[in-house]
Amino acid sequence: MEKLDIRTHLIVLISATLFWFVFQSNAEIHGLVVLCALYMCVAGYWEKAPGFIMTYIIMLLLAYLTAPIMGIMYVVICTFARAIPLTMVAAPILYANPSRMMYSFQRIHVPKNVLVMLCILIRFFPVIEKEMLSIRNGIRARGIFPTWWSILKNPIMAYECFFVPLTVRCLKLSTELGASAELRGLDSSNPRSCIYNIGFTYKDILAILGFVLGCIGVMLGVRTWLS
């Protein structure tokens, strides 16, 4: 199935954020989660949607279970759970091909510098996570902090052992990526071309309309039911 345009995902993300502000009760957020899951299915990411829904349900259950014991945990878990619907509509952008994304956003005149930053912002989180894990493994392999409580014995050394390699890795990665980007002509002033067929179709318009109308329906339905 041909996937929806990335600009459609962006419009839906903006709409979801606006409705997210308007939605106040948990029931409205539950409705938004269902709508976002449906949108993910329409956008061709149906295999990813159940994972998000399960995470949302587990977080809500944990929040309600921990609320009587530790109020702050309820707040923490609820804050993260409420961010899930926005992550769900952002997911199609996160999983999109960078080439498609850059070309698509270029057509709505997003500045190139902003585009490059967005692409790195989206793509680089797993890399940084991996780097952090390898730094932790390196520390363990050298026997510097064999257990987690040995960090508490020498926190200043732990700070140095973690942040110096992380900074150096970031520097190396930025140098390599910068050189690679220049070689690939990312700095070129010519307009970018793309091998993918990119354009707005009736499916995109239907997806946006369906999502917005769904959100309005959830809002009106829940508010009528609650009153």
Partner: protein
């Protein structure tokens, strides 16, 4: 050398800011789970400033061009947007502009004192900005949190949003940001400059 950001500067800023965001999220999560609510409200921005400083010092010295603090603010705002606090993106954009105005001039990011002032002001404004909804649209803000906060949690939030508490939070943030910045400068001199990476 021009003061305009080139592609390699953009990439450096983006990579370092992603690392800063990861550190911020980890610090916030750990503090929320481990520390008391008082410490959480009073010191979480300061602790973030302490832990992000080494990355910021190296990034600002490597790029050293107008826009460094603005991009840092923009990334924080975008992250908060994803967590559902879209208003914070506007706050961060204003913070970014103020910090860039402070950093106007030749080679200001290479000047340790000017750079330090920029970094500290950025974090103080970040702390103050977090309390803005309690002053501008308090009722709507509290109503939007009613389902995800307990009654006690909301009372604590309002208490730590009072002007006196915001002033105290700012002072704590300044202290942590200074300590973090000094440690960052020490790392830069001891490890990064010695290895000729910047």
């Amino acid at each position: 050398m021009g003061n305009k950001l080139k592609m390699k500067d953009i990439i450096t800023l983006a990579i370092f800011n992603v690392a800063i965001l990861v550190v911020m999220v980890v610090v916030k999560m750990v503090i929320m789970m481990v520390a008391t609510p008082a410490f959480n409200y009073l010191a979480y921005v300061g602790v973030m400033a302490l832990f992000c400083a080494p990355l910021y010092v190296v990034m600002s010295n490597k790029v050293a061009k107008t826009g460094t603090l603005f991009v840092t603010a923009l990334f924080s705002g975008l992250m908060m947007l994803l967590f559902g606090s879209g208003w914070f993106l506007i706050v961060e954009l204003i913070v970014g502009v103020i910090c860039e105005l402070l950093m106007l001039g030749e080679n200001t990011y290479k000047n340790p004192i000017r750079n330090g002032i920029g970094y500290i002001v950025y974090w103080v404004l970040y702390a103050v900005g977090s309390a803005i909804p309690l002053y501008l649209f308090k009722d709507q803000y509290l109503a939007s949190l009613a389902d995800s906060y307990t009654e006690e949690g909301l009372e604590t939030l309002v208490y730590y949003g009072s002007p006196a508490m915001v002033a105290l939070i700012s002072v704590i943030t300044i202290v942590f940001a200074i300590v973090g910045y000094l440690i960052g400068c020490y790392f830069l001199k001891k490890h990064i400059k010695k290895a000729k990476l910047v």
